[in-house]
């Protein structure tokens, strides 16, 4: 247990080593990074077993990180079910993705010129994600949180020659940074209020009498604002679709399984904080469902395969936030795991399609690929069905858990909206599968061939897992996931099936798929076009991402740049020219003006003297009289 802190160290070590010496290593040291992540993965299991029998533990290091004034900032790790589950997910997906990238990064038979840097940042990312999960104090958590943001910036902008990649990277970092401002304010408020940075201590002393509840509420909302930034929730989601500019394995790792879930993890880690504040929970649920619906709608309309998957991630993140809002801690984390595995696999298969079809992502140009790429299409279909919520695949169980939690926790409106979302997600998943893999093989895709084994095997492994992992929810060997993944302070609840919701979700999912088949089953798109005309305006709104991007761009151009231009002008003109040069110039001007009265004529001076004498005399005399 105490050695758990070793897990992130492998990654940091690999990063440091690669960053400095990658030019002198064979293959730019990419194998080293893969080895490091495998080591980390291996290290997770002993910690898991250790925790199972010894129970939850928190371990502090003797040396403080730093201390300023009365604030003692130590550092240490927390090992509890949430951490273990996340550790497993992150290390597992990272291993799969890094192995997959070995193949992906080889265009033809030569590596990408900067593959060393790619793997270096990859290991830095997984290391900081692991640190985030393990961190026991708010500052360490915030440090990891920012490092994760940095890595996503570096990886999205990996091919920085491309203007769009550079812009997307900047957009991602700035948007998440805005979210981080909220998080930082929330964290600082908590630290100032509770006088300590230790998460466990703060969570336990939330209810203490002396605590000012206004601060707790404010920090709850602010921390959630930070989570929204990172997990691409409704107002701050604009960066996720553009993040697809980065290499596909990056999307698979970061924008599907790990980074985006950091927001959900944060809310889970500080769950008692949100539990204490009713209004915050409602807000989370509301934002969650809105994001879910928006994501699903946009995914339905997009033509770029990776964008569809990105919106589907956004939608599923919405589901997780909804579950957390409803108090369904177990359901949210369980869905996080299931979604992580399935979505990673979807992205990787998308990657292998792109790899095979010269980086083509437009689904309209694809069709009938299943003949050429059996493994990829099989994996993709399994993943899609899983996320659509088809039993016995993994995401079905977690969606069902969420349904139970929402039904229990929130008012009926959320339940109805959630059911609609289920149908929509089934619909767009079905559309994606049908359009890409079924139908006639287009002539230009003839040359398409299955990806090399190093990419195909990870896909197959993930596909199998997508099927198997669902069963950990069932009460085999222990009373179900509910007993393992429990919110601090909550009572474990065993697995129970509520038939009515179970049947409802299955029926809706199948209905969604049927609808998809009806619309996109065969080649002719007449029905789809007819639909599109009827709801033309609605279609445009959704296609343009609800004009969110334009709105943000407009505010930035009009408001922010305009204000800063005005301020710079104000600074130069008013503060500088008037404030500083003003006195200088006016002194010179006064000098010049005074010059004229010096006429050089004796008489004028005489007059001056006389008047002076007269005045002085009068003054002296008055003083002597009154004095």
């Amino acid at each position: 247990m105490e050695q758990a802190w070793l897990i992130p160290v492998f990654g940091f070590g690999a990063f440091a080593f690669l960053a400095l010496f990658r030019k002198y290593l064979p293959g730019q040291g990419k194998h080293l990074s893969v080895l490091a992540i495998i080591a980390a993965f291996v290290a997770v299991w002993p910690v898991l077993f250790d925790m199972l029998d010894k129970g939850v533990g928190e371990h502090h290091f003797p040396r403080d990180w730093f201390s300023a004034g009365p604030l003692e900032v130590g550092w240490g790790i927390i090992v509890d079910p949430l951490t273990i589950v996340m550790l497993a997910l992150i290390t597992f997906v990272s291993v799969i993705v890094q192995v997959y990238s070995l193949g992906y990064m080889r265009h033809g038979n030569a590596d990408d010129p900067r593959v060393g840097w790619y793997f270096a940042v990859h290991s830095l990312f997984s290391a900081s994600m692991l640190m985030l999960v393990l961190a026991d104090n708010l500052l360490l958590l915030y440090v990891a949180w920012e490092l994760v943001g940095l890595c996503s910036y570096l990886l999205i902008g990996f091919w920085f020659e491309r203007r769009s990649a550079a812009e997307a990277a900047k957009k991602a970092f700035v948007t998440t940074r805005i979210g981080d401002v909220g998080l930082l304010i929330g964290v600082v408020l908590l630290i100032v209020e509770f006088g300590t940075v230790d998460v466990i201590e703060i969570m336990n002393s939330l209810g203490d009498p002396g605590v000012n509840q206004a601060v707790v509420t404010a920090s709850a909302f602010l921390v959630f604002f930070g989570a929204m930034g990172k997990s691409a929730q409704f107002p701050l989601h604009v960066w996720l679709p553009d993040a697809m500019e980065g290499p596909t394995p990056v999307s698979a790792l970061i924008h599907a399984a790990t980074m985006v879930t950091a927001g959900v993890f944060l809310v889970a880690r500080l769950f008692p904080l949100f539990d204490a504040v009713e209004s915050a929970q409602l807000a989370i649920a509301a934002i969650g469902i809105v994001t879910a619906l928006m994501g699903a709608a946009m995914a339905l309309v997009m033509t770029d395969l990776k964008r569809i998957l990105a919106y589907s991630t956004m939608s599923h993140l919405g589901f997780m936030m909804l579950a957390l809002g409803a108090g369904g801690y177990t359901a949210a984390i369980f869905h996080l795991l299931m979604h992580g595995v399935a979505k990673a696999m979807l992205f990787l298969s998308a990657g292998s399609i792109m790899h095979a079809a010269h980086d083509e992502t437009d689904i309209r140009k694809m069709g009938g690929l299943r003949k050429r790429m059996p493994v990829t299409s099989a994996a993709f279909t399994v993943g899609a069905l899983a996320l659509a919520g088809i039993p016995p695949l993994n995401a079905f169980w977690s969606k069902d858990e969420i349904l139970l939690a929402v039904a229990g926790g929130l008012n009926p409106v959320f339940v109805v909206l959630f059911l609609v979302a289920i149908v929509l997600s089934a619909l767009y998943m079905g559309r994606a599968v049908l359009v890409v893999f079924f139908g006639k093989l287009k002539p230009e895709n003839d040359g398409v061939h299955e990806s090399p084994r190093i990419m195909a095997w990870p896909l197959a492994l993930l596909a199998v897992l997508a099927v198997v992992t669902g069963f950990i929810a069932l009460p085999i060997g222990y009373e179900g996931i509910g007993t393992f993944l429990v919110a601090p302070g909550d009572k474990p609840h065993a697995f129970e099936v509520v038939p009515v919701w179970l049947v409802a979700s299955v029926v809706l999912a199948l209905g969604g798929l049927a609808l998809a088949y009806a619309l996109y089953g065969d080649e002719d798109t007449s029905r789809v076009d007819a639909l599109r005309e009827r709801f033309a305006r609605a279609h445009d709104v959704v296609a343009n991402r609800f004009y969110m991007d334009h709105a943000y761009q407009w505010t930035i151009d009009r408001v922010v740049l305009r204000v800063s231009a005005f301020l710079a002008l104000f600074d130069r003109k008013v503060v500088n020219d008037v404030g500083v040069n003003g006195p200088g110039l006016s002194a010179v001007e006064a000098g010049r003006r005074l010059r004229y009265h010096v006429t050089g004529l004796f008489a004028d001076y005489g007059l001056g003297i006389v008047v002076g004498v007269a005045i002085l005399g009068a003054l002296l005399w008055i003083r002597s009289v009154t004095g």
């Binding site: 990180w65 300023a68 004034g69 604030l71 490092l147 902008g157 920085f160 020659e161 812009e167 401002v181």
Partner: protein, 509 residues
Amino acid sequence: MSFAERHILEWLIYLPMLTAVVLVALPAAWRLAARWVGVGSGALLMIGSAWVFIAFDYSAGADTFQMIKVYTWLESVGIDFRLGVDGIAAPMVLLTGIVALTGSVIAANVDRDAKNYYILLFVLIAGVYGTFVSIDLFFFFFFYELAIVPMFLLIAVWGSSSTFADFARTKEYGALKLVLMIVAASVLVWIGIIAIYVWVDIGTFDILRLRDAVQDGGLSSGAQKTLFPLVMVGFGLLAGLWPFHTWSPDGHVAAPTSVSMLHAGVLMKLGAFGIIRVGMTLLPEGMEAWALVLFILGTVNVVYGAVSAMAQTDLKYVVGYSSVSHMGYVIMGIATLNSIGLTGATLQMFSHGIMTALFFAVVGAIYERAHTRDTLILNGLASKMGWTTAFFVIAGLTSLGLPGLSGFIAEVLVFIGAFHEQPILGALGILGAALTAVYILRLVARVFFGQRDPQWDDLPDLTPREIAAAGALVVPLVLVGIWPAPFLDVIRHGVDALPGVDALVGGLL
């Protein structure tokens, strides 16, 4: 006190002066020799400063001012050449050492009569060292002035003018404005010092005895409250306080690379250091009365600097305004009057000093190669200038407070301290950090990433010498970022000894 401890501080002042004298003796033609002498003494200074920092005993018992060295200079008036260093001055001495070394290395590529350049540079360095280590008000002010005088010549002769669409900033204008405004401000400070000397009336300029005298009522609170604005504005101007900051962007832009490194890196810290050394130590009640005003101005500095940096098109102007913004954090930290805020402020002074030096080094290198700093035409440099991009990005990330680099630790401490006093202003400060991220990343995306403009195809990357200098600057940034404990303990030792600082003994509440 060992032999070294007794003499190190005075040698930190004599060495640069000595170098200047030696350089004067060198014939002008020997440019290479001048460079070696410069870099050599830079290295010696660095070693000396590092030694001062390491030898500083920050254990609880140790007295506030250490390595004290006294020469009685003017008995009748009570002025003596008294040197000493406390918890706040030690990191500043280290900062000066680092920036002096890297500055002199970067200064090597000044070709136009490098000898005089080095002479003036080292007079500047001597002045800065003198101010940080002298604990006698008179000599504090003496070196404070000494540090400013060479600035004028350095900028006016070796500087660079920049013309924009609707206004031009010649280097003479920049130099003149910079020096005139600072000298004007130092007049205010001088009035304050003389007033303190006269009103406390114990016939000495020694800060320690003055502080003790003020502690037991030597100076009426009314007097302190009237004197403090003088000191606040006087030193604040050099620290880039909001209404008086306009000299800083113009001055930096006009200055040659190593001068702006030294200036933004170290000289601006003199201002903040002055507020602590004179303002807080000798006028505690004045500080308390004016703390809120300083706090508000500091926050304005942060947001105002960040927003106006966003609109700048000249690379150096962006860095200039970002210095104004970051000095805002320092001022906010000082104004919080609690030990966390002050520790954060001092660390921010240290970290910002190094970060700005790195920024200016990189920007200077780009200017020397591309002969323009206009961000509208410079783009896509990353592919050709790998190292430059890396260093700029590292400096940028420190400035936006990325954890793992020193900027974050300093800013978090300032925010925690600030939230303890004024939560709303603290939140505004954090908003400033977000704005910093916006303009830094916009700059990086436009100038370094993206498609390279064909005209920049032949831009050579940094020379090994410049890489070494920039690397030497990155090391402390990362070190403080990852393991700030040694720095913070030293600073805390100094901060707790300041009068009028509420040490939040009863925890943060």
